[in-house]
Every structure is written in structure tokens, then in C-alpha cells.
């Protein structure tokens, strides 16, 4: 029997769980009030704080690292990588600590925490399907400016996990299926999942539909003028795009539950903005369907916002015609991290090398 410790840092939480083979034994979340982390400039500055709390949790749970089969962690926006399970090595940890990453996000901490945990033992540490998974086909990469190429930053871990679950429901192998998967969370990824590969996706950080906190694709002319207007610094512009864009910019909150309450109370502006988000998501799904030549085994909605019947209903009205519609709310990251490590430990899949990618 394998014992796998799963570590998944998010912007305000560190989720931890212990798996025995496929079964979760326990799970816990360390939560940080958002202002307690605000003083740290970069996610990696939070290492000592997060590790201290993690170590304390493991002591409380009597977890002996040496007794584990593996530690499996979330992977952040590293350099572009294919999907899969990777060994955590000094190279990837070094890249994170030196800022050789595409984007700053708390998920970067995963490999650092895992690495520190297994120091002095011979327990392997892995990361699985990081945010930087890039399986885009060459045709999807050019933009209209040769200086800018489209980038793949995507909720790959959850997307591949729900892809596998849908495959089970359809009694097929993921490698035979064609789906459009939309992960609807703080950030939104809408992708074409073909034969298990994410062959196109909006850049969840800065393109595609707007989201609870991100502004998505913006009219280029207007954006350019604003950048050169002198009214905002580069950092302020980035905040408009990530962190304070989307629902947060329009309505002062990124909390969809709060927004739905306002809509129920008759707030028509909130409804107009929320509908516009659903509209943009539906358009992105329609676009991704053409990547699969409109021949789909299904459209899948996942992520926290997929809990919203209002939102999923509006989206289904526009794109339901594309085929079977699956709604799998929330995310299955902890399980996916455990299973990713398990596949490698059982030699069902080769472990991938960060250095050689």
C-alpha cells in the first residue's frame, strides 16, 4: 500500500491530505486571512511561514515523512511543460526561488514545500500537471503581432482530472475523447481537450472571458492608449488585468455568492455584468468547439463557479447544442495530485524530467 502526502498551496490556503493508494485518509486546510499574506511581495517570501504551519500540522497528525511513498505537490506557472508527473529537483526549486517563472502565484510554493519536506530522506517528491502545462498545437500560437505569442497558462490539473472522470462516465479512455472543458474559478480556463491533450486554451491569467478577478481579453486599442496615457504605472495596469479586474472591477466583489444575492434582490447592474461573464464564457466555448471541428463528446463545466445554476444555465442555453453537457462543480486537485504520483509509483506512466523539457 502506498502512502502519499499531497500539498496544494493556493492564494490564501495550503491544502494538505494523506492518501493510502486511491483513498483519502484525512485532509486539512491551513487558511490565511488575505491581509496576513499581503505584506509578502512574492509568493516565495511566504515559504518560512507556510512551512512552519505545514510542519506543525504534520506533527499534530503524527506523519513521519520517512514512512511515506511520496510527496505530491501542485505545480505553478513554471516554464512551459507538457502535462504529466515530474520529479521535484533542485533545478525546478532553484527556478522558482530565482523567479525564473512565467507568473507569480502561490502554487509556485508547492515544489518548494515538497522539497523541504523530503530533505534528508529518500522519499521522492513530485509535482503534477502544473499551471504551465503547454500542449498547444503550433497553429494556436501566433498572434497578429510576431512579438507576442499566445501562452498556455491553464488549470491543467483539474481539467485533466475532470476529463478522466468524464471518460469513466462515457466508458472510454481519455485518449479517445474530444471535449471542451471550462474551469470556472477565480481565473477561467476554457480549453479544447483532445486525446487527453490541452491543444488550445485561453491564457487563464490574461486573455479570454473576464472572471471574478481578471479582466480577460480587452479591446487592444483602448488598452494601448491607457498604458501610454501616463495615468497608471505598469504595476497598476497589471492589477487591472489580474486581481482587480472582471467582477471585482465592475461590482466591487469577486464573490459570486454575494453577487447572486444582489441579483436576487433586484440589482440589475449586477445581473448585466454576471450575464456578460456567462456570455463571454459561452463564446470562448463556441470558439474552442471549432478547434475540435465541432465534433465533441461533451462540454464540461468545472471549478467553483460551476456550482452556480444561474451561470451554468445561461451557458448551457448558448452552447448546449454542442453535445452532452457535464457539470462537475468544484475541483479535484488533491485527488489528481495523489493519482498522478500513484501512476508513476506503479510504473503505469513514466516520470517526466523538468530538466529535459
Amino acid at each position: 500500500m502506498t502512502r502519499i502526502l499531497v500539498v496544494n498551496p493556493g492564494s490564501t490556503t495550503t491544502k494538505v491530505a494523506l492518501y493510502e493508494d486511491e483513498t483519502p485518509v484525512w485532509s486539512e486546510t491551513v487558511t490565511y486571512p488575505s491581509d496576513s499574506l499581503a505584506s509578502f511581495l512574492r509568493p516565495t517570501d511566504q515559504m518560512d511561514l507556510r512551512f512552519r504551519d505545514l510542519a506543525e500540522l504534520l506533527r499534530r497528525r503524527s506523519v513521519e515523512i520517512g514512512s511515506l511513498s511520496a510527496v505530491s505537490s501542485r505545480g505553478g506557472p513554471f516554464k512551459p511543460l507538457e502535462g504529466g508527473t515530474y520529479r521535484v529537483t533542485p533545478t525546478v526549486v532553484g527556478d522558482v526561488l530565482q523567479g525564473r517563472v512565467q507568473f507569480n502565484h502561490a502554487s509556485l510554493l508547492g515544489v518548494c514545500l515538497a522539497d523541504r519536506l523530503v530533505q534528508g530522506t529518500d522519499v521522492p517528491a513530485f509535482f503534477v500537471d502544473p499551471v504551465s502545462v503547454d500542449e498547444m498545437e503550433p497553429i494556436a500560437r501566433p498572434t497578429g503581432m510576431p512579438e507576442l505569442e499566445r501562452r498556455s497558462l491553464v488549470h491543467a490539473l483539474n481539467i485533466k482530472a475532470v476529463g478522466r472522470k468524464v471518460a469513466v462516465q462515457l466508458r472510454k479512455d481519455l485518449s479517445q475523447l474530444r471535449m471542451v472543458v471550462a474551469h470556472l474559478g477565480g481565473g477561467i480556463s476554457v480549453c479544447a481537450l483532445k486525446d487527453g491533450f490541452i491543444i488550445d486554451v485561453n491564457n487563464a491569467v490574461e486573455a479570454g472571458p473576464f472572471s471574478p478577478e481578471r479582466s480577460g481579453t480587452l479591446p487592444v486599442h483602448a488598452l494601448t492608449e491607457m498604458c501610454f496615457s501616463g495615468r497608471f504605472t505598469h504595476a497598476e495596469m497589471r492589477k487591472k488585468i489580474v486581481g482587480c479586474g472582471g467582477l471585482a472591477a465592475h461590482l466591487g466583489t469577486s464573490d459570486a455568492v454575494e453577487i447572486e444575492k444582489r441579483i436576487a434582490a433586484g440589482d440589475s447592474r449586477a445581473e448585466r455584468v454576471y450575464r456578460a461573464m456567462a456570455y463571454q464564457i459561452a463564446k470562448e466555448i463556441g470558439a474552442m468547439a471549432t478547434v475540435l471541428k465541432c465534433m465533441l463528446d461533451g462540454v464540461v463545466l468545472t471549478g467553483g463557479l460551476a456550482r452556480s445554476q444561474m451561470l451554468t444555465g445561461w451557458i448551457q442555453e448558448r452552447v448546449g447544442i454542442l453535445g452532452s453537457f457535464f457539470v462537475m462543480p468544484g475541483e479535484f486537485e488533491m485527488e489528481a495530485l495523489a493519482l498522478g504520483a500513484l501512476r508513476v509509483l506503479r510504473n503505469e506512466e513514466p516520470v517526466k524530467s523538468y530538466e529535459q523539457s
Binding site: I139, G144, V220, C227, F228, K240, K283
Partner: protein, 363 residues
């Protein structure tokens, strides 16, 4: 006793020439493209200052071909940059003439269309019209919002041709365009893909402003963060970046040419970069069509490909390979601007439509 055909003079000013044609009902009887030497035009600071000069050329043409103003029933000019308005044929009223003369919404050679038409029409005591200018705006409110409240999407697109081919699709389907749900992809120097719901273009990418697929000359939509990083990097000035968005973006930026025929030659000769760029342009166009299909809830009566690039069998097939499952397809290459303008006037003269009022629209 039958009346005889309606005689319509059509005036379509471009940046270096003025196209002019005489129609009798739907048939074009005479036409010319009056070239204006660059040194003649460069004397004028503002486009509106060219009016007497261009009028002179038009009147010479009319005299030469014995087209007397008194023999006309209407004069139709290409629409210019105006305040957003619904689609249709509009009389060139005082408010419109003022906005065109003062370039209130921007300078463009097409602003002269309504002005030239008005002068000639006044001589004959008949009406001057414009039809479906690029500023036609029938977008649904939900389509206008972006991820920042400061920015709203604008509707600027090839309205004249999009609406003309939509009508043609209606004729072929034997149904009035007001009953149809269509996607029209105009594939030209810029690419606009519009969702036409019962005669209204309820969503369309802004062909001019950096929105949607890249095209022979335009960059199309770009990832916001990367664009902001580039703008703030100091690596390029505002005017350099603006040039790359329109005029020097897209295929021109990648391959040094906006000519698809030239690009296809290079591909046939083994140029893999050219092939990737051409394929990526078709790919992005297909994605935009898919997005419009979602706007129409997947219930689409026809998909129409039009504009210059639709003359390329290879390019249209590259697009259609991804989208033909959406709806029956019509490929109507090119754009018949003069004919579309004439037909806009004809619909008024025949009483099929009443002209819109610019003074009453918008605001």
C-alpha cells in the same frame, strides 16, 4: 403606364480616388474610378477641404457621360465616420453633413461620400443618402461589456457588405433576412465576423480596433497582460504600436505582405512560416465564427464567407473545415460596394423601406 427604371448615382470616395457609377434599378449602366494625383490631394489639410476638388472631378465625369442631375432619382454616397447608428439607408441631413464636414467622429476619405452626394442631389432637388456606414451599431448590451468598466466594446465593421450578403443569403434561402439567424464573415484587409439575428448585427468583432482574428493588415485581439507589458516596457512608442494594430499588423507584420495570393505562392514554394501564419489566420477566423455561433445559441440558418479572401479556395476551405457543421454555407467572394449602395437607395425609392434619421438617432 410603367415608370421606367430608377436612376441612381453612386459616389464612393477612397483615399486616392473616387469611384462613381450610374445605376438604373439594379443594373450598373456606367462607372469610373476617378484617380486623384497625390500632389493634388496633398494640398488639403483636412479631408473636407477636398470637397470642391472632388466635386469638380465628379461633375466633369457626369458632363462627359451626359448624366444630368435632373435625370436622377437619388444620389447615394458611401457612409463615413459618424455617431453610432442602426443599419439602414439614411438621408444626408444637416446634422450628418455637419458631422462629416467637421470630421466630428474622425477623418476618413469616405466622409466625402455623403457630402458629394448632398451637393449633387441639391442641384436636382432630390434626396442624398448614405447606406450602412462602418459605424453601424446594433450590438446587444451584453456584448458590449468587457472585463473593465472603463472599456466597452465598439461596433465598427464592414456593415455595408455584411448586410448586403445577408440579404443575398435571404434571397437564396427564400426567406426575409428579418427572419434569419446568420453568421457573416467578411474576410478582407480586416476581418469582421458578425452574428446577424433577425436582421440586426447583435455582436461583431471590431475589425479596426484590435478585436478578433488577425488579418492581412491588422493584429486583431491580443493577450492583455502581454500587451500591457510590452506597452510599458519602453521597447516601442505608442505610434509604433498603433501602426502594428492596423495597417502593419497581422500578415504584414509576420510576412511583409498583405497579399494572400503572394502568401499562397510562397507556401506552394515551400515557405513553412507563411503556411503557419496563413493557417493561424484561418484558425482564428474559425474560432470567431464558433464564438458567434454561441451568440446565436447554435441555431444558425446560414454561414456566409465574403470579402476578398473568400476568393481563395484554399483559405475558405481552411476555415470551413472547422465550422461547416454549424450551418449551410454560402461563399460570396469580394464586396460589391457600388451595387450595395445603389440597392440601399433603391429600397427607399421603391417604398420598401423608409430612410433613417441621423439627427434623431443615438445620443
Amino acid at each position: 403606364m410603367s415608370r421606367g427604371p430608377f436612376r441612381i448615382l453612386v459616389v464612393n470616395p477612397g483615399s486616392t480616388s473616387t469611384k462613381i457609377a450610374l445605376f438604373e434599378d439594379e443594373a450598373q449602366r456606367d462607372s469610373a474610378s476617378l484617380a486623384h494625383p497625390a500632389d493634388a490631394l496633398s494640398r488639403f489639410i483636412r479631408i473636407a477641404d477636398q470637397l470642391p476638388f472632388r466635386l469638380g472631378a465628379v461633375e466633369s465625369f457626369m458632363a462627359e457621360r451626359d448624366i444630368r442631375p435632373a435625370s436622377l432619382d437619388a444620389v447615394v454616397g458611401r457612409g463615413g465616420l459618424l455617431r453610432p447608428m442602426e443599419g439602414g439607408t439614411y438621408a444626408v441631413d444637416d446634422r450628418m453633413a455637419e458631422d462629416l464636414r467637421t470630421a466630428a467622429e474622425g477623418e476618413h476619405a469616405s466622409n466625402l461620400g455623403g457630402l458629394i452626394a448632398r451637393v449633387i442631389a441639391d442641384q436636382a432637388g432630390i434626396s442624398a443618402y448614405i447606406v450602412d456606414p462602418v459605424v453601424v451599431d446594433e450590438m446587444d448590451e451584453v456584448a458590449r461589456l468587457t472585463g473593465l468598466p472603463e472599456f466597452r466594446r465598439r461596433s465598427i465593421f464592414h456593415a455595408l457588405n455584411q448586410k448586403a450578403v445577408a440579404r443575398e443569403a435571404g434571397r437564396r434561402l427564400n426567406r426575409p433576412v428579418q427572419s434569419l439567424r446568420l453568421i457573416v464573415a467578411h474576410l478582407g484587409g480586416g476581418i469582421s465576423v458578425g452574428a446577424h439575428r433577425e436582421g440586426r448585427v447583435v455582436d461583431v468583432n471590431n475589425a479596426l480596433d484590435g478585436d478578433g482574428p488577425f488579418s492581412p493588415e491588422r493584429s486583431g485581439g491580443l493577450p492583455s497582460g502581454q500587451l500591457a507589458d510590452w506597452c510599458c516596457s519602453g521597447k516601442a512608442s505608442l505610434s509604433e504600436i498603433r501602426r502594428k494594430l492596423t495597417g502593419h499588423g497581422g500578415m504584414v507584420a509576420h510576412l511583409g505582405t498583405n497579399d494572400l495570393v503572394e502568401v499562397e505562392r510562397r507556401i506552394a514554394a515551400g515557405d513553412r512560416t507563411a503556411a503557419l501564419v496563413r493557417d493561424a489566420m484561418a484558425y482564428q477566423t474559425a474560432k470567431q465564427i464558433g464564438a458567434m455561433a454561441a451568440v446565436l445559441e447554435g441555431r444558425v440558418d446560414a454561414l456566409v464567407l465574403t470579402g476578398g479572401l473568400a476568393a481563395s479556395a484554399v483559405f475558405t476551405e481552411a476555415v470551413l473545415a472547422r465550422v461547416r457543421w454549424i450551418a449551410p454555407v454560402f461563399v460570396l467572394p469580394g464586396e460589391k460596394e457600388m451595387e450595395s449602395l445603389a440597392q440601399g437607395g433603391l429600397r427607399i425609392l421603391r417604398g420598401e423601406e423608409t430612410p433613417g434619421s441621423y439627427a434623431a438617432s443615438g445620443d
